[in-house]
């Protein structure tokens, strides 16, 4: 497949001052490239430069091998469409009217739409499941509907490339997923090249074919999500000094409460996670165990517990592990158990719980 949108040694910024330097990237048709990176690093600036809203400070952007500053406004508009974060409130326009403006580069002197133009606009609205919005005033729809209509407007330009700046901001989780699913499908169906910025790393990881990291001054890693998302890299990209990031689930945890553990949590199988987070919120340092490193509880316990007794994956705890856990437990004021059932694999936990004696407490009362 051919490169569609490319940037070579691009410097982007305002008033001749580069905010980002030496950006080289390419996006193919049928693929989604996602920009991630901290606020203020220049994601929007780069997107504006790629869409020719801003002149490059140095270097150039190419569409199908042609430098975009050599294209006429009309040629550009027939190839590249945008969805911005700008809140527009066009007066007395229905959603269908907003979508129709996408035909601008194809209509004549007075902008009158032909039957074919109308059909394309209707199809664009239908492809984002927006048929029932057609006659609704654009000013009176929800944020999720608004993003879908703006995407339909971009599609109505019949572009090769769509550039979206944070299309999922302000949307609730259902509408974020809906928006990205629509994008994913359209990219495949219409062989679009999509470049967008996202703040949600978990979503970026799931939807991106290519992830482009933008850090202060320029580009960081670029590659597939598997290549880019590792915990240490993401921590350094976002200069995450407190808290943690889990590259597999895309989850983030706040910083662990330090100090001598006051509560010991016997957890496992995911049952302890809500309690670990609750204790963190309450500022109570806690110990946890005994967890194999492939337990569902493990990443969260690792991130939040002041002390953790862990064993290698698929291993049963030995007497030494049990002794360490017991020592830790005896220094705590209370012991709670979130596990519903014991079996051969967590027999150590059952023994530990029995040893707690008078310190046993119901975790729901914490």
């Amino acid at each position: 497949m051919k490169e569609c949108l490319e940037a070579k040694n691009l410097s982007a910024g305002y008033d001749g001052k580069a905010l980002l330097e030496q950006v080289t990237l390419s996006v193919r048709r049928g693929e989604i490239a996602v920009l991630i990176g901290p606020n203020g690093a220049g994601k929007s600036t780069l997107l504006k430069t790629l869409a020719r809203q801003l002149a490059p400070v140095a270097g150039a952007v190419y569409l199908d091998g042609r430098a975009i500053h050599q294209l006429s406004g009309q040629e550009m508009a027939r190839r590249l469409a945008i969805v911005t974060t700008e809140r527009i409130s066009p007066e007395l326009m229905t959603c269908a009217d907003v979508v129709r403006t996408g035909r601008y580069p194809y209509t004549g002197r007075f902008g009158l739409l032909s039957g074919a133009d109308e059909a394309i606009a209707a199809a664009a609205l239908a492809s984002v499941h927006g048929e029932d919005l057609a006659d609704r005033p654009f000013a009176c729809i929800s944020d999720g509907q608004r993003q879908r209509v703006l995407l339909a407007r971009a599609l109505c330009q019949q572009p090769e490339v769509i550039v979206l700046d944070e299309p999922t901001s302000f949307l609730d989780i259902r509408h974020k997923i809906e928006m990205l699913e629509i994008l994913r499908r359209l990219v495949k169906e219409q062989q679009l090249a999509v470049v967008m910025s996202l703040h949600e790393l978990d979503l970026a990881q799931r939807i991106a074919d290519t992830v482009i990291c933008i850090q202060e001054g320029g580009m960081g890693r670029i590659g597939t999500p598997e290549q880019v998302f590792d915990a240490d890299y993401i921590r350094s990209l976002y200069q995450l000094e407190k808290g943690s990031y889990d590259p597999l689930f895309g989850g983030t945890e706040l910083e662990a409460v330090k100090g001598a553990p006051r509560v010991f949590v016997i957890g496992g199988g995911g049952s302890g996670i809500p309690l670990y987070r609750k204790l963190q919120r309450q500022g109570v340092p806690f110990g946890a165990g005994i967890l194999p490193r492939n337990d569902l509880d493990y990443p969260v316990a690792k991130a939040l517990a002041a002390a953790l007794v862990e064993v290698p994956p698929y291993q049963l705890a030995g007497e030494a592990d049990l002794a360490r856990a017991r020592q830790l437990m005896e220094r705590c004021e209370k012991v709670v158990c979130t596990v519903e059932a014991f079996g051969p694999c967590n027999d150590c936990c059952a023994r530990l719980w029995a040893l707690a004696g008078a310190k046993q407490a119901d975790w729901r009362t914490l």
Partner: protein
């Protein structure tokens, strides 16, 4: 867009223009009946006095108020599009006052030397003043954000221009002042056929040019970024838009003095009638609506307390200002509702 509604609205506007046109010719201190006027318009000069009144006084005045009213409301619509602000207009933004200032200065200077100023001279002077005031508003709009602040800034620019105008008038000869005073309050009286011919030509050219901007204006209603991404040369478009709106309001001020609120009230009423803001549809309707509005206001100004003639701006303000207040209130309440929904 509902085409049935649009055609219906155009029918209504044309009807209003026709009725007010005839009323403007028939009604006045000397009563004339419709059949009498019809005969006079067809060339019957048996009643010399009535013939002169209709042909030399009422007809040019009615035509002037129609043409200038149309230009003024189109100018208002252009400014509203430019600033993305429904209460922008040549009067509130001080553009009319800027034109008034330069015309007053030009009149006083030339009259002082015994030279009568021509229509073209008046229009040029007004254009210079209108552009000057527009430049100040543009400068201001870089620093202040939001609808209200821009309008406050425009009103202040208007006051400054009026103050400077008053200063010049204070030191002018009595005879000049009488002339200037009438004009500076806004009036369609004393308009000659030569004036009507000049303004008709200007209006035809300027409105035709405006229609060529209808397409980019629609894209611009989505904001600058989207307009640019659709292929609009935004810098050139903005320049064309601001020059056209300044020229339109300069023409009106040159011929009739500053006239308030027409530029805001008429586009708003027209959009509410059409239920769309599509420039291609709204622009001609604004011209018709402005014509009807100004013919009505001028008719009221000269007949309500005849033989005393009211200030035209007093009448347009009495009708226009409530529309603007209504506009602000509904927008505010819609925004707070939107805020809750969001």
């Amino acid at each position: 867009m509902n085409w049935k509604r649009i055609w219906g609205s155009y029918g209504l506007l044309l009807g209003a223009v026709a009725v007010l046109f005839l009323a403007g010719i028939c009604v006045g201190s000397t009563g004339t009946t419709l059949p009498q006027v019809a005969r006079i318009l067809l060339g019957d000069s048996s009643d010399q006095a009535a013939y002169r009144i209709v042909w030399d006084i009422r007809l040019p005045r009615v035509l002037a108020s129609a043409i200038l009213g149309g230009m003024l409301s189109v100018s208002g619509f252009l400014l509203q599009t430019f600033f993305a602000n429904p209460i922008a207009g040549p009067y509130v933004l001080g553009i009319s006052s800027g034109a008034k200032l330069t015309v007053a200065v030009a009149m006083l200077v030339l009259l002082g030397q015994g030279i009568a100023i021509s229509s073209a001279g008046m229009v040029l002077a007004a254009f210079a003043g209108a552009l000057g005031a527009t430049a100040m508003i543009l400068l201001l709009s870089r620093y202040v954000r939001g609808t209200a602040m821009l309008v406050v800034g425009g009103v202040m620019i208007g006051y400054i221009c009026s103050a400077v105008t008053d200063f010049f008038v204070t030191f002018a000869d009595d005879a000049d002042i009488a002339n200037l005073h009438n004009w500076s309050q806004g009036s369609f009286s004393g308009i000659s056929w030569a004036n009507v011919r000049d303004m008709a030509v200007l209006a035809a050219v300027l409105l035709a040019l405006t229609m060529t901007l209808a397409k980019p204006m629609e894209a611009y209603q989505l904001g600058e970024s989207y307009a640019q991404s659709l292929g609009v040369n935004v810098r050139r478009f903005r320049l064309e838009l601001i020059i056209l709106s300044s020229l339109l309001s300069a023409c009106v001020t040159a011929f009739a003095g500053p006239i308030s609120f027409v530029g805001i009230a008429v586009p708003h009423l027209v959009k509410s009638l059409l239920k769309t803001a599509k420039p291609l549809v709204v622009l001609p309707a604004c011209a018709l609506g402005g014509a009807a509005f100004c013919m009505l206001c001028d008719l009221l100004a000269r007949t309500l307390f005849a033989p005393t003639e009211l200030n035209l701006s007093s009448v347009t303000a009495a009708f226009g200002a409530p529309v603007v207040i209504g506009l602000m209130v509904t927008r505010q309440s819609r925004r707070s509702q939107g805020g809750m929904a969001g």
